[in-house]
């Protein structure tokens, strides 16, 4: 049976950890976000794209050995299969069959259409292991297209200012760019250096991002950035890097932006509620659809999700895993 250990969720039948937060002999990794995918494991099994992303982030030798997850696999006494999670490029849920029971470890997942990755696939199971990042009934994430329309309306209203959009480097940034392209924004989009390699990789994988330019382009004066859209990891706003733009409108694309205090705290002028995680309606709908015997909760607002399951007459328990971050949204 699966159970939590200090390094993360562990499967004794196959002697492996899932998304371990410290180095282990054998790791199965759901997706490339830094709190789920760490370097230094003996062996890593993950999707091709997750392995590529880990190599981009940590260098080619991020693990002793690697294996691409393709089709059903047998590890010890466990049967393992990877299914798309709809969270970021390469993200997967890991389905495990052991001792006659079916577990689905969903990692981080999202059920909204995302032009930058494959859609979530429901996997029937007895035990559904779920995240709870946005597991409060206040989180109803609006359709991302409407949020992109707000961004473009602001660009039009403030043509003399640059729009600086904070977005995490893996997944959110590329989704934002793809959404802007789908909304008809054809001008070059300026990107922070930290996004370059991951954007290039998405293009390689067939995600259409249109023309991208480095935001540090020496040929650009401050005034040239008026009316332009610049995308950067939010940490860049605190750096001198942000001084090159004319009176920037600070935007931030995140599911947290639904809460005003969060936006204010970060000095955000235009909060864009765009999330790569399930919101409350999608999370509770997924549980109802899969109708598992038990729900195990990995990280986030566990108490609220467990309360919801209790009210619905489902068995649920927190795994109390540590090391996963809310902020990696």
């Amino acid at each position: 049976m699966l159970h939590p250990r200090p390094a993360g969720l562990y499967c004794p039948a196959g002697d492996f950890h899932i998304d371990p937060v410290r180095p282990v002999a054998r790791a199965l990794i759901t997706h490339g976000h830094a709190d789920h995918a760490r370097s230094g494991h003996g062996a890593v099994l993950a999707t091709r794209q997750t392995l590529d992303i880990m190599a981009i982030r940590y260098g080619q030798d991020f693990a002793g050995q690697t294996q691409v997850a393709e089709g059903p696999l047998r590890i010890g006494d466990a049967e393992v299969a990877f299914h798309p999670a709809g969270h970021v490029l390469g993200s997967a849920q890991i389905a495990i069959r052991t001792g006659g029971r079916r577990f689905t470890v969903s990692g981080d997942y999202c059920r909204r259409a995302n032009p930058a990755c494959a859609p979530f696939e429901p996997v029937p199971c007895d035990v559904f292991v779920t995240e709870a990042t946005f597991a409060l009934p206040v989180f109803h994430h609006p359709e991302p297209e409407g949020q992109i329309a707000r961004l473009l309306a602001s660009v039009q209203a403030f043509p003399e200012r640059a729009h600086l959009v904070g977005a995490y480097a893996l997944g959110k940034a590329q989704r934002l760019i793809a959404l802007l392209r789908a909304a008809g924004w054809e001008a070059p989009i300026y990107i922070h250096g930290a996004l370059e390699r991951l954007c290039a990789y998405h293009i390689e994988q067939g995600v259409d991002l249109g023309p991208l330019r480095p935001a540090t382009d020496d040929g650009m004066t401050k005034a040239d950035f008026a009316g332009q859209i610049v995308i950067a990891p939010p940490s860049a706003f605190a750096a001198t890097w942000a001084q090159r733009f004319p009176d920037p409108v600070i935007c931030f694309a995140s599911g947290w932006m639904q809460v005003r205090a969060r936006a204010r705290q970060r000095g955000v002028e235009l909060p864009l509620v765009i999330s790569d995680h399930v919101d409350w309606p999608d999370l509770t709908r997924t549980i109802a659809e899969l109708d598992p015997e038990q729900v195990w909760v990995t990280h986030g607002r566990e108490e609220a999700l467990i309360r919801h399951c209790t009210l619905e007459g489902r068995t649920a328990r927190p795994l109390n895993l540590v090391g996963y971050e809310d902020e990696a949204e």
Partner: protein, 522 residues
């Protein structure tokens, strides 16, 4: 309602004044009457709605959502209206009801009908509509728009001087149809109010160099009192006291209102005064922003008015007359004044600017912060024209303080650390004594920003603490006692006068040195 909700959202997240004004102007342009008028009234706090209590809202929401889940959500979000707006279960598709209808219902609803009304409306609004509706119903918009800023936006919308709007304002009521009709190019409304506010005349700063080019014989001079500039107006039985921006502050000063035994509009300085002794500014502050004033405070902190100009007397408009004529007319009222409440600001005798400089250097009272210089032949004109009135302030007080925290700015200062907290020595401890975010040049901002980045000790969100190594010369206009501050003192208008990179932090000033500058305690 959707437009109003969107306006509130934009205002809440736009830090810059100019940006807020732009959002307001766009709203006034795009929304029909009476929608824009009710939006304006909601922002300026001029709607008389039945106040909805938090407990009523809590009861409504926990009938619909599990109380435990609501509790977790409220803990996380931290704001009741916002939590309810987000968590309210929706069934029927939202409908965009006019703001005027929602306001009308809230004005008229009886107490017993209120819960049912609110629930019915929340059922048919989208989340941002619910948020705006709840903020409206609970009476706390808190989007950083003062009545004054709203009036500035009206002025920009109609391309009329803000002073003309301030003058009309107190005679207008929501939804301000006549005001908008005028701003859209129609007839200017006639002020119907008794004792309306009349826009005040303001001065510009000067110094001995500039004065040297002027003929002292053409000017009168008075002390510049460290109180609050006010306008006292009495008109057909109505008595009002206005701040210089046209806020009606009558309710805070019933004692002074009782003493306004004249008919007209006078200009002067509001002070706390006991006989001949004028109290420091900090004591006047205790009387401000009160809806009602207790007996004790009325006795311990008596308000008085020191007059220096007259705009109207007994129906006669004096504003086009020269200063000397107005002054004579004001002096003509003198025997009606209760000397404990009303007196005249004396004119200063001087022949040369050097004479005046000598008076300014050694004022007879600590509550004098310089001199006012007024051209004798100048009419009373609204606004800040350069020339007829000058203020020649006493040199600012200065201390050398140590920079300890810096916070990131926004807008044109994005990416720069531009808000600085500084401290003075108390024993071997540095005690924060104030914050400054102006006074420096662009180049100085760059060097301060560089210092902060290179000397960061800790980060807390947008704030960094820095190594206590950089000395700043802080100039300020006055000092008050303040139990709210750890240092026990609060500076007025502190600014960074110079960066003292030459001075070691250990040689910065001590808290005792600053406290010695405090006015004597009562």
């Amino acid at each position: 309602m959707q437009h109003f909700a969107r306006l509130l959202e934009s205002l809440a997240f736009t830090p810059a004044r100019t940006g807020k004004i732009r959002h307001l102007v766009t709203h006034f342009r795009n929304r029909p009457d009476p929608e824009r008028g009710y939006a304006l009234a909601a922002l300026t706090g001029d709607l008389e709605l039945r106040k909805v209590t938090p407990s009523l809202l809590r009861a409504l929401v926990t009938e619909r959502v599990d109380a435990e889940l609501f509790g977790y959500s409220y803990d996380f979000v931290g704001d009741l209206a916002e939590t309810i707006a987000l968590i309210w279960p929706t069934g029927a598709p939202p409908e965009d009801l006019p703001l005027s209808q929602l306001v009308g219902e809230l004005e008229q609803a009886g107490k017993a009908d209120l819960p049912g009304l609110i629930a019915a409306r929340l059922d048919r609004l989208d989340p941002s509509g619910r948020h705006a509706y709840l903020k409206l119903a609970t009476g706390g918009l808190r989007v950083g728009v003062s009545a004054r800023l709203a009036r500035a936006a009206l002025a920009e919308y109609g391309t009329v001087p803000a002073t003309e709007i301030e003058e009309l304002w107190h005679g207008l009521t929501p939804p301000y149809d006549s005001l908008f009709a005028w701003l859209d190019g129609g007839e200017k409304p006639v002020s119907a109010a008794h004792a309306p506010f009349r826009p005040v005349m303001l001065s510009t700063g000067t110094d001995l160099d500039q004065l040297g080019a002027l003929d002292p014989a053409e000017y009168a001079a008075e002390w510049k009192w460290d109180g609050i500039r006010v306008q006292a107006s009495v008109d057909r039985g109505t008595r009002r006291l206005y701040s210089r921006t046209g806020e009606d502050i009558s309710a805070s000063f019933p004692d002074l209102l009782d003493a306004l035994e004249f008919e007209g509009t006078l200009d002067g300085e509001l002070l706390v005064r006991r006989g001949a002794e004028v109290a420091p500014f900090g004591e006047l502050q205790k009387r401000l922003n009160r809806k009602s004033v207790g007996k004790g405070l009325l006795q311990s902190h008596p308000a008085a008015l020191r007059l220096y100009d007259a705009l109207l007397i007994e129906g006669r408009d004096l504003r086009a007359d020269p200063f000397t004529t107005r002054r004579k007319a004001l002096e003509g009222l003198r025997n009606r004044f209760d000397p404990d409440r009303l007196d005249l600001s004396p004119l200063l005798a001087f022949d040369t600017w050097d004479d005046l400089a000598a008076l300014r250097a050694d004022p007879p009272d600590a509550v004098i912060e310089g001199v006012m210089i007024k051209r004798k032949d100048s009419p009373y004109t609204a606004g800040r024209a350069k020339g007829p009135w000058f203020k020649w302030k006493r040199d600012p007080m200065v201390v050398d303080a140590v920079l300890i925290y810096a916070q990131r700015g926004h807008g044109k200062r994005s990416g720069y650390y531009s808000d600085f907290t500084f401290a003075l020595w108390d024993g071997d401890q540095l005690v924060p004594v104030g914050k400054a975010y102006f006074g420096f040049t662009d180049d100085e901002l760059k060097s301060l920003d560089r210092f902060v980045r290179n000397n960061t000790v800790e980060r807390f969100g947008p704030v960094r603490s820095v190594k206590p190594e950089l000395v700043l010369e802080i100039a300020f206009e006055g000092l008050n006692r303040s139990p709210r501050h750890k240092s026990g003192v609060a500076m007025r208008f502190p600014r960074i006068a110079r960066i003292r990179s030459d001075k070691p932090a250990a040689e910065a000033d001590r808290l005792e040195t600053l406290k010695a500058l405090l006015p004597p305690a009562i």
